[in-house]
């Protein structure tokens, strides 16, 4: 979690220096959802995320240098420079993509889960999305299909209380965006403190187990908070100061630190780990920035499965 926090802070700094080509959406403050969920997945399981997806890829084991190279437009980017921040994908690690059209990946998650069911592999698919997604049609089509087909998929809503700049409460007719919609699909109402990594691990773990055991899909609402704006370019000034302060006092790292301290872990030890991570990431950024940019010829590969792009003879 600490690594994800420092990675995003580094990405934010690089963005501010003008070193990242294109938009960046930071998951600062939402690390516990990614880590808690990833901790209950097996290597062959599938997960999918949104354009705010760095943490979800890294939590599954995607190499940080390849993710950073993708952000910085350097050689060795995890998508070869063709996806950028919003499309980080690491199939090798079971992370089947970050999707930048709100809601698009929920039906795709159904397809992955359907394949696992047809192939009887016991794999589970976990699909992360934001609160705003609960207002788009694809959400409803996908959750309905998953429920009707009893697919081994866990939908995890990261409710950070803002669709983008607008409070989610202003655009839903119920109190909670995901949990209060679950009944429409015959699913249980599941809410978890998304800033408490142990709680996420517990609740998503139960849902993953149910999916693996053939008991069908779940819809989990993990309540969390963005420590920064919608994108790195957004200061988030529309949020009341008191609200931000409230959530800063209960952000995932502070909660984890308190839990670890209660378990006897010395604060100095944690500071030491944190300092090492910060140093490692600073060095990693230096190394990646020193790499060459991708060869322009790479723009012409990977359209078709034979590697080519040609559409006519």
């Amino acid at each position: 979690m600490c690594f994800l926090r420092r990675f995003e802070e580094r990405a934010d700094a690089l963005y501010r220096q003008g070193l990242i080509h294109g938009p960046v959406h930071l998951g600062l403050g939402q690390e516990a959802v990614a880590v808690g969920a990833a901790s209950v997945l097996r290597p062959g399981d599938y997960s999918l995320g949104t354009y705010r997806g760095h943490a979800h890829a890294l939590a599954r084991g995607a190499p940080a240098d390849a993710v950073l190279a993708e952000l910085l437009g350097r050689e060795g980017g995890i998508c070869g420079g063709k996806g950028g921040s919003m499309h980080i994908t690491s199939v090798e690690h079971g992370y089947y993509g970050s999707y930048a059209i709100v809601g698009a990946h929920l039906p795709i998650a159904c397809g992955l889960a359907w394949a696992s069911a047809v192939q009887r592999t016991g794999q589970v698919t976990v699909c992360f999305f934001g609160d705003g997604t609960t207002n788009i049609g694809a959400f409803h089509e996908a959750v309905n299909l998953a429920a009707v087909w009893r697919l081994p998929v866990v939908f995890v809503c990261e409710n950070n209380w803002y669709m983008e700049y607008t409070p989610i409460g202003d655009v839903i007719p119920v109190a909670l965006p995901a949990a209060d919609r679950a009944a429409a699909y015959g699913l249980d109402r599941i809410v978890v403190d998304g800033n408490d990594v142990s709680a996420v691990r517990q609740v998503v773990g139960d849902a993953v187990r149910a999916a693996r055991d053939g008991r069908g899909p779940s819809l989990v609402e993990a309540q969390t908070y963005r420590l920064k704006g919608h994108s790195a370019a957004d200061g988030g000034a529309y949020r009341p100061a008191g609200e931000v302060a409230h959530w800063r006092e209960r952000e995932p790292l502070l909660l984890a630190r308190a839990a670890l301290a209660a378990g006897g872990m010395a604060g100095e030890k944690l500071d030491e780990i944190d300092a090492r991570i910060k140093g490692d990431l600073a060095e990693l950024a230096r190394q990646v920035l020193a790499r060459p940019v991708p060869n322009p010829a790479g723009a012409w590969t990977d359209v078709w499965s034979d590697g080519s792009w040609q559409w006519r003879n």
Binding site: A104, P107, L112, E141, T301, W311
Partner: protein, 333 residues
């Protein structure tokens, strides 16, 4: 195999490929009971509900699930009942399916097929159930496009689409579903990206797709009576496009008329015309001419529909026009 209708050819291609490859699965609305156009009859009984899945009326879920299943190693064939309904799942088709391979630097391939009923053909389906939608797909790199003109093409192109490792959209023409043809026994697979010369001729090249191949053949028969020999090309696929066959034909005839069912304001015919104008300019004895559907939403009343659809008479008229333009040149030589 004797005589098959176009719709039977679709079902036979699906059965051929499902029997050959256990990874081929079908999903779509009402397909278990044979589908609205009866193109999936008997498949659920033969291959089971695991491989032939009825879906809710949820085109986004259908297209998206096909994509996810393809990423996980299946070879799904999703039915979108009417091509017009691609508008309801265009994000999945244009933003996700077409691009995920490229955007991930080739980490995944999508061996999937999207298929369904396309086109008007004078059946009175109107503006929301009668469009020819190939053009929509042709604006997006990453999608292959096949439009079969008859039962043999419906069988062979669909089989090839299922075997292809990239996403292929197969636009079946609803007015051709009843068309019969003897297509012979054995396995049928046609290559994608290879046009067919449906009728040889020396005076003018007619390029058609799907239903307009028949329209061009009818026009050619009419013109033959006047001593004009038209060569008719069935493009079969728009992506990959077999431009070489069109260019080769125009090199012999010096004249090209393109017949497309969709509105012409931005049709695939414009792409074909531009390629020929640019790459075979020296061979042209007359301007390249397009005959397209009217630039209006499709009306329903038979008299109104007939006014805007592509007919053999309009194609023949265009041919007479390009020959007329060129005749003074040849008569002076």
């Amino acid at each position: 195999m004797a005589e098959l209708t176009y719709r039977q050819a679709v079902a036979a291609a699906l059965a051929q490929e499902m029997a050959r490859d256990g990874r081929v699965v079908l999903l779509g609305e009402d397909i278990g009971s044979g589908g609205v156009f009866k193109t999936t009859g008997g498949l659920r009984e033969r291959f089971g509900t695991d491989r032939v899945r009825d879906t809710p009326i949820s085109e986004q879920a259908i297209a998206g699930a096909a994509m996810g299943a393809a990423m996980a190693g299946l070879r799904p064939v999703a039915e979108i009942m009417f091509a017009d309904f691609y508008a309801t799942c265009w994000d999945q088709v244009a933003n996700e399916i077409a691009k995920v391979r490229y955007m991930t630097g080739g980490q995944v391939s999508l061996p999937l097929v999207l298929r369904g009923a396309n086109g008007s053909g004078g059946l009175g389906f109107g503006s929301q159930h009668g469009q020819s939608a190939e053009n929509w797909a042709m604006t997006v790199p990453g999608l292959k496009i096949a439009s079969p003109s008859g039962p043999a093409e419906a069988f062979g192109l669909l089989a090839a689409a299922i075997r292809d490792d990239d996403p292929v959209m197969v636009f079946e023409h609803k007015a051709l579903y009843g068309r019969k043809e003897d297509i012979g026994d054995g396995e049928h697979v046609l290559p994608l990206g290879q046009a067919r010369i449906a009728r040889p001729g020396a005076d003018v090249t007619l390029a058609g797709l799907s239903i307009t191949v028949g329209t061009c053949l009818a026009a050619a028969a009419e013109l033959a009576a006047e001593g004009i020999e038209a060569e008719v090309i069935d493009l079969r696929t728009l992506v990959p496009l077999d431009a070489a066959t069109v260019l080769g034909s125009v090199a012999r005839t010096g004249r090209l008329v393109v017949a497309e069912e969709n509105p012409g304001q931005l049709g695939w015919g414009a792409s074909v015309a531009a390629i020929v104008a640019q790459e075979a300019f020296g061979a042209l004895a007359a301007p390249v001419t397009r005959v397209s559907g009217g630039n209006v939403p499709l009306p329903v009343a038979a008299s109104l529909e007939a006014e805007v659809v592509v007919s053999a008479a309009r194609v023949a008229g265009a041919v007479r026009s390009v020959l007329g333009t060129s005749q003074p040149l040849s008569s002076t030589s």
